[in-house]
């Protein structure tokens, strides 16, 4: 892993992304967001504010929702990362993705990957969340299009489908 003696300052970092083992050579302070987007071509996670306020770069790291713009990639060494690209199973959309489509939870799409990851993190902890729990679970994810109602409805419906299917 870390190799501070290397002349260009880069180190080798390995982690799993969407179930696949990846090794990158990167500067340790590169943001996980940039490594995903620029080195691994996983451009689902978006850069919004770049300071942890908007949630559009959210991914799961070892099952926990994190803002990837605030994670220096060295701290992702050995972890399991899940991005929006790893949510669907082949061509079959995840129940959250379907619900977002059906309920108008996605419009311009910038916030959507982070929203879905935040919603997934919520449902993993609360199989049947109340509206307040959905609001709290998504409070770190800003959307300037939908006004949130459709997103909240989509998450509630996805939870319902997951527990009843």
């Amino acid at each position: 892993m870390t190799d501070p003696g290397d002349s260009d300052g880069k180190v080798e970092i390995s982690f799993s992304v969407n179930g696949q083992r990846k090794t990158v050579r990167a500067y340790p302070m590169e943001r996980l967001l940039d490594v995903l987007r620029c080195r691994l071509q996983l451009t689902g996670a978006k850069e919004g504010c770049g300071e942890g306020e908007c949630g559009s770069c959210a991914v799961l790291m070892d099952g926990l929702l994190v803002n990837s713009c605030l994670v220096p990639v060295l701290q992702a060494e050995g972890s399991k990362i899940l991005t929006i690209e790893g949510i669907a199973e082949g061509e079959t959309l995840h129940v959250l993705q379907k619900a977002f489509l059906e309920f108008g939870g996605a419009q311009c799409g910038i916030c959507t990957p982070g929203m879905i990851l935040a919603a997934l993190h919520l449902l993993n902890g609360h199989a049947e969340p109340t509206t307040e729990q959905i609001q709290e679970g998504l409070a770190g994810n800003l959307c300037r299009c939908t006004g949130y109602s459709q997103i909240i409805e989509a998450v509630a419906e996805a939870a319902h489908r997951r527990t009843t299917s």
Partner: protein, 471 residues
């Protein structure tokens, strides 16, 4: 300007020992980074002064929560999510759990750490006032060893702390003394969700009968450091919670804080709101006392109403001492509130016979003594009665020796004349007052004196019923 990652070095040694020895090797050169929720924001803005970072994220040594008999020791690397999920923290330090819930969204709660919040030293930080009011202590660690200090001394000025260049916060220790306190927190910001506060409060309090027993108040964003209002606390303790106290509180808060004008608010607004927040806390504290008191009565009565009759009698007997009285009151259950209990007691008293009253009288110790004069042995139900007698006669035990001796003599004279212990409702009466009453009542004829003793017993019973209903 965004920072260029190639300008930065970062190490993740993975153990606390290796990290503190790195910090010791070049004090001040290596900036510790935990979840990055502050450091990475500075980095993104090109404002991170350090060029060498050392990761302390997810170190097992810093991520433990230990419970001992007298304190909770929270590793400085515990995240807000760790705090929110911890049952004992939630039960005994709800202020800290609430602050954790208010700090950022879930993604930031998963990464932000308590130690990071302390070291970042923002006067607006949500968790810091909560730590101040519960007398937190910090354990700092370096290659030189550990030291422990009161958190209240840690912040020395705006963004200045006692942390040495080679030190880390290892543990935040919270004494388990405040779980019975009423706790109150409020944050005033531009909006409810995830706003940095304009003014915030964390407070603990205890009150009884509408007066402040103890208060502990800290405010955020009203001074260069998170501020404990020690002067205001002192001026509030022991006082009745009334409009006069509210205006005193407002003045005292204004004198103690040093608010400023900045991008989020201005000094005048902050001063007004700080006063409002403290007043709101005091109002809640007094409401809380009233609610708890009536809830307790409700709980004691609900339980008593359900008991089998013999157990119900046993439970209420110490309030009077007469079995006929206990039987009479228990038979009239269910009783809905304190007023009903007192009314029923008065009614039953009217029906008691001479021997019922004697039984009640004999359950009391002589004034100035601690055990019933006519019981060679203390029955288990009398333990409570003995304790109450001690409280009722509290002022007698403070009396000087001459008065006590005079009381003993008069008691003896009373017993010779009337053939029973002198009964008086002693609550709140001093020894000389009781002595004067006793001497007057020695002049009564036996029938008048019996009625007077019974009336005293009725009053004692009412006072004891109130205590009994308070659990």
């Amino acid at each position: 300007m965004r920072s260029d990652p190639s300008d930065y070095e970062m190490l993740a040694p993975g153990s606390l020992r290796a990290i503190v020895s790195l910090l010791a090797s070049e004090p001040g050169a290596w900036l510790p980074i935990a979840g990055g929720t502050d450091v990475m924001v500075q980095y993104a803005a090109g404002k991170l002064p350090a060029r060498q970072l050392v990761s302390i994220w997810n170190l097992p040594e810093l991520r433990r929560i230990e419970i001992t008999d007298d304190e909770i020791r929270i590793g400085a690397g515990c995240t807000y999510t760790d705090l929110r999920r911890h049952e004992v923290v939630g039960r005994e330090f709800p202020l800290l759990t609430r602050a954790a819930r208010w700090t950022g969204g879930i993604a930031n709660q998963n990464r932000g750490t308590l130690g990071g919040n302390i070291v970042n030293a923002s006067p607006a930080a949500d968790s810091l006032p909560a730590l101040l009011v519960c007398d937190a202590e910090l354990i700092l660690v370096s290659a030189r060893g550990e030291r422990r200090l009161p958190y209240a001394t840690f912040h020395t000025g705006y963004k200045k702390t006692l942390l040495a260049l080679d030190e880390l916060i290892q543990t935040v220790c919270l004494p388990r003394r405040f779980s019975e306190y009423f706790s109150h927190a409020r944050k005033v910001g531009a909006r409810n969700a995830q706003a940095i506060s304009k003014v915030s409060i964390a407070a603990l309090g205890r009150s009884a009968a509408g007066a402040v027993e103890d208060v502990r108040i800290a405010l955020g964003s009203v001074a260069p450091v998170p501020l404990r209002l020690t002067e205001t606390e002192r001026s509030l303790r022991g006082k009745r919670i009334d409009p006069e106290l509210m205006s005193l509180a407002r003045k005292s808060v204004a004198a103690e804080i040093q608010p400023i004008d900045d991008i989020r608010s201005n000094a005048r607004y902050r001063e007004t709101v700080a006063g409002n927040l403290v007043i709101e806390f005091l109002n809640r504290l007094s409401q809380e006392w009233a609610t708890t008191a009536s809830n307790t009565v409700h709980a004691v009565l609900a339980r008593w109403n359900r008991l089998p009759v013999d157990e119900a009698m046993k439970a209420i007997l110490p309030c009077c001492g007469s079995k006929a009285w206990a039987q009479g009151t228990s038979a009239l259950r269910p009783l809905k509130d304190q007023a009903a209990v007192l009314a029923v007691s008065d009614e039953i008293c009217k029906t008691l016979t001479h021997s019922d009253w004697m039984e009640a009288f004999n359950s009391h110790p002589r004034i100035g003594e601690s055990q019933p004069s006519h019981s060679p042995q203390i029955h288990s139900w009398q333990t409570q009665s003995v304790e109450w007698s001690a409280q009722e006669q509290g002022k007698v035990s403070d009396a000087d020796a001459d008065v006590k001796r005079a009381l003993a003599d008069a008691n003896q004279e009373y017993e010779l004349r009337f053939g029973r212990t002198f009964i008086v409702c002693a609550t709140g009466k001093s020894a000389p007052e009781i002595l004067a009453l006793l001497r007057r009542r020695l002049q009564n004829d036996p029938e008048t004196e019996f009625k007077e003793a019974a009336e005293q017993q009725r009053q004692i019973t009412r006072i004891r019923l109130r205590k009994w209903l308070q659990g």
